[in-house]
């Protein structure tokens, strides 16, 4: 692009859309720590540097996690969307990131229904990673954590007798 290198272009795009997620392709081998030293202002927000040449299938494999990160970051009020994560760990990390945006940035209340982690572990994670008083926020109803059984038994009256314990 005339007059713009990839890094300048990225900075300009970020000004327009701060939630932009970017992956760079480069023919040069570049360790993330080296990239951070050379480009400290953008290193944290560039998700990965993919070495060229790369096949289409490998490119898809590399960028798929970041497409999910981007989908989470770009959620709009009123949306009902679905993400299929690769692992339970990715599900928890990305879900918490999505909820953090709601609580900390948008002034929303948050609800998490999961059996993946016990409630006290989730609250610990929130307190540590979001730097908030998670227990007070839960007591005030700003944060609601429920198990699958709690939510679906109350909300939908599903008969869970048939469900395995």
């Amino acid at each position: 692009m005339p007059g713009l290198n990839r890094f300048t272009l990225y900075r300009e795009m970020k000004k327009i859309d701060p939630s932009l997620t970017a992956c760079f392709l480069s023919a040069f081998e570049m360790h993330p720590e080296e990239f951070k030293k050379v480009f400290p202002s953008i290193a944290d927000s560039v998700k990965t540097i993919i070495k060229k040449p790369v096949t289409i299938s490998n490119l898809i494999k590399e960028i798929n996690p970041f497409l999910r990160i981007s989908a989470v970051a770009r959620a709009r009020k009123g949306e009902h969307f679905l993400i299929a994560f690769q692992t339970p760990q990715e599900l928890i990390e990305q879900s918490l990131q999505f909820l953090k945006t709601g609580l900390v940035e948008n002034g929303e209340d948050i609800l998490l229904v999961t059996d993946e982690l016990p409630k006290d572990r989730i609250l610990e994670k929130i307190a540590k990673e979001w730097n908030v008083d998670a227990s007070t926020l839960e007591a005030n109803g700003r944060i609601t954590l429920m198990t699958f059984r709690e939510w679906h038994l109350i909300e939908t009256n599903l008969t869970l007798k048939e469900a395995r314990p």
Binding site: R68, L99, L111, F148, W151
Partner: protein, 86 residues
Amino acid sequence: MMTKMVRKSIEGGRKGLRSVGDMNPFFSNGMIQELVTWESSLEKQFELPVTSLCAYIRDNVEQLDNSGIVVMQQRHNRIMGAINKK
């Protein structure tokens, strides 16, 4: 219950509700039909200030048959992680 939570949020001076539902226990409990019924009951776009993420593990989503996939496609306004008809 979700409607009550949204109302409480707004009445308390907040901006609404953001929710994540981990849908995978439907699969581990052998309740795929109940899952499809549940998703069918939700709006594609909420009129209330609710933003809702239905979170799946990809291996579980692949257990859905075509009719289940159609419901997922119809009831969500965005899908990431590719669920395609077989």
